[in-house]
């Protein structure tokens, strides 16, 4: 299929909406024409139901439930056979962890229910989000004719099953780090070690734990981006979630009883704290979880976010224990999988 630019597609959609407006005016539907938003028009001419996303789509304590609701609505509508158009007209911000999770959801739904089930209203999509969605490949997933990303600031979302794409991610990180600061050979090696061990251990966790009953499709999705001077690496899987697998860990019984654990968020927090500070069971399982944290622990402003099952966990990094800050919150909704985000400042 011949690829065309985003502007060309946008122009086609704008023309379609304008044609529909003219047609309605000629039919004497002036009033409804004025009242209806461009978003309604787009949904009507494409005969779809609209799913509208929140102002801030991010996995923070204050916004995660409102961020997840449209995604749950999207799934429910598609599963019941409806065709859907995604509306981001009210959205001013999308976090990396949200977009990689959204990407995985859309790809899974399209694979199961057909490419044509989900569309995106480009007409009302804010310019900043157009750049982000194109940079990470979300536009190309939905609008298959959009030409590929050429931005240096984004590494598009890719789906994989083992350490595929790790080279691309590491190269991207090193290039961006080098672009911002002069790195000695040793610093470069350290960046590579911290990044590769965090990501590869997160990938291994997906392989080992996320899909215990499935022999195939042990997929993760990963992306990287530079946004406002910070490096974001986000990885998600659509498996059973960390809280479901922890009770089967060889070291889990050592935690139980020592900490109050009443919900998914507390389970994740307990696992993070324990694996950070302890000598772990016979085969060293749990050490990978420590690598996942190490990438932010060495940066004063690094932030690790983990959302899994019905729990949200955040760790603000710092080299010293007393400067670190951890938070965890139970969620209203189960995200059906795990999403991890590392935010690393590239400049002090």
């Amino acid at each position: 299929m011949k690829k065309i630019t985003l502007d060309t597609i946008l122009q086609h959609e704008r023309q379609a909406i304008d044609r529909e407006k003219r047609r309605r005016r000629l039919r004497g539907e002036n009033r409804s024409t004025q009242e209806a938003s461009n978003n309604d028009f787009y949904a009507q001419i494409s005969n779809r139901n609209t799913v509208t996303f929140d102002e801030r789509c991010e996995f923070t304590n204050s916004n995660i439930n409102a961020t997840l609701e449209p995604i749950l609505s999207l799934r429910s509508k598609v599963e019941s056979g409806e065709k859907v158009v995604l509306d981001f007209s009210k959205t001013v911000y999308c976090s990396a962890i949200f977009v990689v999770y959204l990407f995985s959801e859309i790809e899974l739904l399209m694979n199961q229910y057909g490419q044509n089930t989900i569309d995106l209203n480009l007409y009302t999509l804010p310019d900043k989000l157009k750049r982000l969605f194109k940079g990470i490949g979300l536009l190309q997933l939905i609008k298959t004719r959009v030409s590929d990303n050429t931005s240096r600031r984004f590494l598009p979302v890719t789906r994989g099953i083992n350490d595929q794409q790790l080279d691309d991610i590491i190269s991207f990180v090193i290039d961006q780090a080098r672009f911002k600061t002069d790195l000695s050979d040793q610093q470069r090696a350290r960046v590579e070690l911290l990044t590769s061990s965090a990501i590869s251990e997160a990938m291994l966790n997906v392989q080992y734990h996320a899909y215990p009953t499935s022999e195939i499709d042990r997929y993760w999705w990963i992306m990287a981006a530079i946004i406002d001077g910070d490096l974001y690496i986000a990885l998600c899987d659509r498996g059973v979630g960390i809280p479901s697998t922890l009770p089967y860990s060889s070291w889990w019984e050592q935690i139980m009883g020592a900490l109050p654990i009443n919900d998914d968020a507390q389970m994740i927090a307990a696992a993070m704290k324990y694996t950070r500070s302890s000598v772990i069971g016979k085969r060293g399982r749990g050490k990978g979880t420590r690598d996942i944290q190490k990438l932010v622990l060495e940066h004063k402003k690094g932030l690790l976010t983990i959302v899994s099952g019905k729990g949200l966990y955040r760790l603000n990094g710092a080299p010293y224990e007393e400067d670190r800050r951890e938070e965890h919150f139970p969620l209203l909704y189960d995200i059906s999988g795990t999403a991890i985000n590392w935010r690393i400042p590239l400049e002090d």
Binding site: D163, Q186, S197, Q207, V279, R283, G284, K287, G288
Partner: protein, 107 residues
């Protein structure tokens, strides 16, 4: 001259995973195809980890801690030296996993 295993050149600059099922360049394969045969020779040898900076904890634990689980004795461990030119924390971590495996074995 001491025998040397140059991991990046002879095995892979992209080691990944614990077990053979995890990927082509797993710790289990490295241990079974490089480390254990080196111990069988009974001569001192150097494991040079330089040339790759991608050693996750799972790889290091399974490659080196796994030696104890495979029956390598503390006396035999004296034959092995581990180094990394740029990142001394990597051989230190590998040795830590050996110590932990010995401790777990004793219990």
């Amino acid at each position: 001259m001491i025998n040397k295993i140059d991991v990046a050149k002879e095995f892979s600059a992209r080691p990944y995973g614990r077990y053979r099922d995890d990927g082509e360049f797993s710790a289990q394969r490295f241990r079974e195809e490089f480390l254990l045969p080196a111990f069988e020779q009974g001569l001192p040898f150097l494991v040079d980890l330089s040339g790759s900076n991608r050693y996750g904890s799972s790889f290091l634990e399974e490659a080196f801690g796994g030696l104890i689980r495979d029956g390598i004795t503390q006396e035999q461990l004296g034959l092995m030296e581990i180094k990394h030119e740029l990142l001394p924390s990597i051989p230190l971590e590998a040795k830590e996993y050996i110590e932990q495996a010995i401790s777990a074995n004793d219990n």
